[in-house]
Protein backbone atom coordinates (compact mmCIF):
# COMPACT_ATOMS: atom_id res chain seq x y z
CA UNK A 1 0.00 0.00 0.00
CA UNK A 2 1.62 3.20 -1.17
CA UNK A 3 0.76 6.27 0.92
CA UNK A 4 -1.35 8.86 -0.84
CA UNK A 5 1.07 11.58 0.24
CA UNK A 6 3.74 10.09 -2.01
CA UNK A 7 1.40 10.29 -4.98
CA UNK A 8 0.64 13.89 -4.09
CA UNK A 9 4.30 14.87 -3.83
CA UNK A 10 5.14 13.11 -7.10
CA UNK A 11 2.34 14.85 -8.95
CA UNK A 12 3.33 18.20 -7.41
CA UNK A 13 6.85 17.75 -8.77
CA UNK A 14 5.49 16.77 -12.18
CA UNK A 15 3.16 19.77 -12.19
CA UNK A 16 6.00 22.15 -11.38
CA UNK A 17 8.18 20.71 -14.14
CA UNK A 18 5.27 21.24 -16.53
CA UNK A 19 4.83 24.81 -15.28
CA UNK A 20 8.52 25.49 -15.85
CA UNK A 21 8.30 24.13 -19.40
CA UNK A 22 5.27 26.30 -20.14
CA UNK A 23 6.91 29.43 -18.78
CA UNK A 24 10.43 29.00 -20.09
CA UNK A 25 10.24 27.48 -23.57
CA UNK A 26 10.05 29.49 -26.76
CA UNK A 27 8.41 26.87 -28.92
CA UNK A 28 4.67 26.33 -29.14
CA UNK A 29 5.02 22.55 -29.34
CA UNK A 30 7.15 22.43 -26.21
CA UNK A 31 4.63 24.62 -24.41
CA UNK A 32 1.95 22.14 -25.42
CA UNK A 33 4.06 19.34 -23.97
CA UNK A 34 4.32 21.30 -20.73
CA UNK A 35 0.54 21.62 -20.57
CA UNK A 36 0.26 17.88 -21.11
CA UNK A 37 2.67 17.27 -18.23
CA UNK A 38 0.52 19.40 -15.93
CA UNK A 39 -2.62 17.56 -17.02
CA UNK A 40 -0.94 14.25 -16.37
CA UNK A 41 -0.02 15.35 -12.86
CA UNK A 42 -3.69 16.09 -12.22
CA UNK A 43 -4.76 12.77 -13.70
CA UNK A 44 -2.30 10.93 -11.46
CA UNK A 45 -3.98 12.50 -8.43
CA UNK A 46 -7.44 11.54 -9.67
CA UNK A 47 -6.35 7.96 -10.18
CA UNK A 48 -4.61 7.74 -6.81
CA UNK A 49 -7.66 8.97 -4.92
CA UNK A 50 -10.02 6.98 -7.12
CA UNK A 51 -8.66 3.84 -5.52
CA UNK A 52 -10.87 4.57 -2.52
CA UNK A 53 -14.05 4.75 -4.57
CA UNK A 54 -14.74 1.25 -5.74
CA UNK A 55 -18.48 1.52 -6.29
CA UNK A 56 -18.81 4.76 -8.22
CA UNK A 57 -15.36 4.92 -9.86
CA UNK A 58 -15.43 8.70 -9.58
CA UNK A 59 -11.69 9.29 -9.79
CA UNK A 60 -11.01 6.94 -12.66
CA UNK A 61 -13.97 8.23 -14.60
CA UNK A 62 -12.82 11.82 -14.30
CA UNK A 63 -9.31 10.73 -15.27
CA UNK A 64 -10.76 9.24 -18.46
CA UNK A 65 -12.69 12.42 -19.19
CA UNK A 66 -9.56 14.49 -18.59
CA UNK A 67 -7.56 12.32 -21.01
CA UNK A 68 -10.20 12.73 -23.70
CA UNK A 69 -10.35 16.49 -23.14
CA UNK A 70 -6.57 16.66 -23.40
CA UNK A 71 -6.75 14.83 -26.72
CA UNK A 72 -9.36 17.27 -28.04
CA UNK A 73 -7.44 20.37 -26.96
CA UNK A 74 -4.19 19.02 -28.39
CA UNK A 75 -5.77 18.37 -31.78
CA UNK A 76 -7.13 21.92 -31.94
CA UNK A 77 -3.92 23.48 -30.61
CA UNK A 78 -1.78 21.65 -33.14
CA UNK A 79 -4.03 22.81 -35.97
CA UNK A 80 -3.58 26.35 -34.68
CA UNK A 81 0.19 25.84 -34.49
CA UNK A 82 0.26 24.72 -38.12
CA UNK A 83 -1.75 27.78 -39.16
CA UNK A 84 0.52 30.09 -37.20
CA UNK A 85 3.54 28.54 -38.83
CA UNK A 86 2.03 28.99 -42.27
CA UNK A 87 1.40 32.66 -41.61
CA UNK A 88 4.46 33.72 -39.60
CA UNK A 89 7.06 31.08 -40.54
CA UNK A 90 7.82 30.64 -36.85
CA UNK A 91 6.12 28.99 -33.90
CA UNK A 92 7.74 31.11 -31.22
CA UNK A 93 4.78 32.56 -29.28
CA UNK A 94 6.77 35.71 -28.51
CA UNK A 95 7.07 36.54 -32.19
CA UNK A 96 3.38 36.09 -32.98
CA UNK A 97 2.32 39.67 -32.33
CA UNK A 98 -0.58 40.56 -34.61
CA UNK A 99 -2.99 40.66 -31.68
CA UNK A 100 -0.69 42.80 -29.55
CA UNK A 101 -1.24 46.41 -28.53
CA UNK A 102 0.86 48.95 -30.30
CA UNK A 103 3.04 50.69 -27.77
Amino acid sequence: MIPLTHYLVLSAALFCIGLYVVLAKRNAIQILIGIELMLNAAILNLVAFGKHDKVNNGGQMFALFAIVLAAATTAVALAIVLNVYRRYKTIDPDKVDKLKDKN
Binding site: C16, I17, R26, L37, K54, N57, G59, V68, A79
Partner: protein
Protein backbone atom coordinates in the same frame (compact mmCIF):
# COMPACT_ATOMS: atom_id res chain seq x y z
CA UNK B 1 9.33 -2.78 1.24
CA UNK B 2 7.05 -4.84 -0.92
CA UNK B 3 7.54 -5.31 -4.64
CA UNK B 4 4.73 -2.86 -5.38
CA UNK B 5 6.42 -0.14 -3.39
CA UNK B 6 9.77 -0.74 -5.09
CA UNK B 7 8.04 -0.57 -8.48
CA UNK B 8 6.33 2.65 -7.46
CA UNK B 9 9.56 4.36 -6.50
CA UNK B 10 11.40 3.14 -9.60
CA UNK B 11 8.59 4.37 -11.85
CA UNK B 12 8.36 7.71 -10.09
CA UNK B 13 12.11 8.23 -10.49
CA UNK B 14 11.80 7.40 -14.20
CA UNK B 15 8.86 9.80 -14.52
CA UNK B 16 10.60 12.69 -12.82
CA UNK B 17 13.92 12.13 -14.58
CA UNK B 18 12.40 12.00 -18.05
CA UNK B 19 10.15 15.00 -17.32
CA UNK B 20 13.22 16.87 -16.10
CA UNK B 21 14.99 15.95 -19.32
CA UNK B 22 12.02 17.30 -21.30
CA UNK B 23 12.39 20.56 -19.41
CA UNK B 24 16.17 20.77 -19.66
CA UNK B 25 16.87 19.50 -23.15
CA UNK B 26 17.65 21.93 -25.92
CA UNK B 27 16.87 19.37 -28.59
CA UNK B 28 13.18 19.39 -29.44
CA UNK B 29 13.06 15.91 -30.97
CA UNK B 30 14.81 14.39 -28.00
CA UNK B 31 12.49 16.08 -25.56
CA UNK B 32 9.45 14.80 -27.47
CA UNK B 33 10.78 11.26 -27.22
CA UNK B 34 11.52 11.65 -23.53
CA UNK B 35 7.92 12.82 -23.11
CA UNK B 36 7.02 9.42 -24.55
CA UNK B 37 8.98 7.75 -21.73
CA UNK B 38 7.22 9.95 -19.15
CA UNK B 39 3.82 8.91 -20.45
CA UNK B 40 4.71 5.22 -20.35
CA UNK B 41 6.00 5.49 -16.78
CA UNK B 42 2.79 7.29 -15.80
CA UNK B 43 0.77 4.46 -17.33
CA UNK B 44 2.76 2.09 -15.13
CA UNK B 45 1.91 4.21 -12.10
CA UNK B 46 -1.78 4.03 -12.99
CA UNK B 47 -1.53 0.25 -13.11
CA UNK B 48 0.07 0.28 -9.68
CA UNK B 49 -2.85 2.26 -8.29
CA UNK B 50 -5.23 -0.37 -9.71
CA UNK B 51 -6.57 1.72 -12.59
CA UNK B 52 -5.70 -0.56 -15.47
CA UNK B 53 -8.36 0.80 -17.80
CA UNK B 54 -7.08 4.34 -17.34
CA UNK B 55 -3.56 3.10 -18.04
CA UNK B 56 -4.65 1.47 -21.30
CA UNK B 57 -6.53 4.63 -22.29
CA UNK B 58 -3.44 6.65 -21.51
CA UNK B 59 -1.31 4.51 -23.79
CA UNK B 60 -3.88 4.41 -26.60
CA UNK B 61 -4.81 8.10 -26.58
CA UNK B 62 -1.68 9.86 -25.38
CA UNK B 63 1.06 7.70 -26.79
CA UNK B 64 -0.80 6.57 -29.86
CA UNK B 65 -2.68 9.76 -30.62
CA UNK B 66 -1.28 12.91 -29.12
CA UNK B 67 2.37 12.08 -29.52
CA UNK B 68 1.93 11.11 -33.16
CA UNK B 69 0.03 14.36 -33.68
CA UNK B 70 2.84 16.31 -32.03
CA UNK B 71 5.43 14.62 -34.22
CA UNK B 72 3.31 15.33 -37.31
CA UNK B 73 2.90 19.00 -36.46
CA UNK B 74 6.57 19.18 -35.67
CA UNK B 75 7.60 17.72 -39.00
CA UNK B 76 5.05 19.70 -40.99
CA UNK B 77 6.23 22.95 -39.47
CA UNK B 78 9.49 22.68 -41.30
CA UNK B 79 13.17 22.46 -40.87
CA UNK B 80 13.66 25.99 -39.59
CA UNK B 81 11.74 25.19 -36.43
CA UNK B 82 14.19 22.49 -35.58
CA UNK B 83 17.06 24.77 -36.41
CA UNK B 84 15.71 27.64 -34.30
CA UNK B 85 14.99 25.36 -31.38
CA UNK B 86 18.60 24.31 -31.30
CA UNK B 87 20.00 27.76 -31.93
CA UNK B 88 18.24 29.38 -29.00
CA UNK B 89 20.20 27.12 -26.64
CA UNK B 90 17.59 26.42 -23.97
CA UNK B 91 19.95 25.96 -21.07
CA UNK B 92 18.28 25.27 -17.77
CA UNK B 93 19.99 28.15 -16.04
CA UNK B 94 19.78 30.91 -18.57
CA UNK B 95 19.12 34.31 -17.12
CA UNK B 96 15.85 34.67 -19.01
CA UNK B 97 14.58 31.43 -17.53
CA UNK B 98 15.29 32.45 -13.97
CA UNK B 99 11.80 33.85 -13.23
CA UNK B 100 10.18 30.68 -14.58
CA UNK B 101 12.49 28.52 -12.49
CA UNK B 102 11.81 30.64 -9.42
CA UNK B 103 8.04 30.49 -9.83
CA UNK B 104 7.95 26.73 -10.33
CA UNK B 105 10.38 26.05 -7.47
CA UNK B 106 8.37 28.22 -5.07
CA UNK B 107 5.12 26.57 -6.15
CA UNK B 108 6.73 23.17 -5.58
CA UNK B 109 7.80 24.17 -2.07
CA UNK B 110 4.30 25.45 -1.25
CA UNK B 111 2.57 22.37 -2.66
CA UNK B 112 4.85 19.90 -0.90
CA UNK B 113 4.39 21.75 2.38
CA UNK B 114 0.63 21.69 2.05
CA UNK B 115 0.59 18.00 1.16
CA UNK B 116 2.87 17.03 4.01
CA UNK B 117 0.74 18.97 6.48
CA UNK B 118 -2.64 17.85 5.16
CA UNK B 119 -2.10 14.16 5.95
CA UNK B 120 -4.03 12.84 2.97
CA UNK B 121 -4.06 9.23 4.12
CA UNK B 122 -6.36 9.93 7.05
CA UNK B 123 -8.98 12.15 5.50
CA UNK B 124 -12.45 11.40 6.88
CA UNK B 125 -13.92 10.09 3.65
CA UNK B 126 -10.92 7.85 3.04
CA UNK B 127 -11.19 6.41 6.53
CA UNK B 128 -14.87 5.78 5.91
CA UNK B 129 -14.12 4.11 2.56
CA UNK B 130 -11.53 1.83 4.10
CA UNK B 131 -13.86 0.89 6.95
CA UNK B 132 -16.79 0.12 4.67
CA UNK B 133 -14.67 -1.88 2.24
CA UNK B 134 -15.02 0.64 -0.59
CA UNK B 135 -11.31 0.48 -1.36
CA UNK B 136 -10.14 -1.38 -4.44
CA UNK B 137 -8.07 -4.47 -3.98
CA UNK B 138 -6.16 -6.42 -6.58
CA UNK B 139 -9.03 -8.89 -6.84
CA UNK B 140 -11.73 -6.34 -7.66
CA UNK B 141 -12.86 -6.19 -11.26
CA UNK B 142 -12.37 -2.52 -12.02
CA UNK B 143 -12.84 -2.44 -15.78
CA UNK B 144 -16.25 -4.12 -15.76
CA UNK B 145 -17.41 -1.72 -13.07
CA UNK B 146 -16.19 1.22 -15.16
CA UNK B 147 -18.20 -0.04 -18.12
CA UNK B 148 -21.35 -0.37 -16.02
CA UNK B 149 -20.87 3.06 -14.47
CA UNK B 150 -20.18 4.66 -17.84
CA UNK B 151 -23.52 3.44 -19.15
CA UNK B 152 -25.57 4.27 -16.07
CA UNK B 153 -24.26 6.92 -13.70
CA UNK B 154 -22.02 8.81 -16.11
CA UNK B 155 -24.09 8.44 -19.28
CA UNK B 156 -24.74 12.15 -19.84
CA UNK B 157 -21.10 13.25 -19.38
CA UNK B 158 -20.06 10.41 -21.66
CA UNK B 159 -22.37 11.55 -24.45
CA UNK B 160 -21.39 15.18 -23.99
CA UNK B 161 -17.69 14.41 -24.10
CA UNK B 162 -18.07 12.31 -27.22
CA UNK B 163 -19.89 15.17 -28.96
CA UNK B 164 -17.20 17.56 -27.75
CA UNK B 165 -14.45 15.29 -29.06
CA UNK B 166 -16.14 15.11 -32.45
CA UNK B 167 -16.55 18.90 -32.54
CA UNK B 168 -12.90 19.41 -31.64
CA UNK B 169 -11.70 17.00 -34.31
CA UNK B 170 -13.93 18.56 -37.00
CA UNK B 171 -12.70 21.97 -35.90
CA UNK B 172 -9.09 20.87 -36.07
CA UNK B 173 -9.60 19.51 -39.57
CA UNK B 174 -11.29 22.76 -40.56
CA UNK B 175 -8.50 24.88 -39.09
CA UNK B 176 -5.68 22.98 -40.68
CA UNK B 177 -7.09 22.74 -44.19
CA UNK B 178 -5.42 24.48 -47.11
CA UNK B 179 -6.45 28.09 -47.21
CA UNK B 180 -8.57 29.22 -50.14
CA UNK B 181 -7.90 32.48 -51.91
CA UNK B 182 -10.53 34.55 -50.13
Amino acid sequence: MTAVQIMFYILSVITLASAGYVAASSNLVRSVFMFFVTLFALAGLYVLSLADFVAVTQIVIYVGGILVLILFAFMLSGRETLYNAQQSGNKLLRIGNLPALLISALLLIILVNVFLKSDADHLPWINRAIRSGNTMSTESNGTANIGINLMTRYLLPFEIISILLMMALVGAAHLSRKEQAA
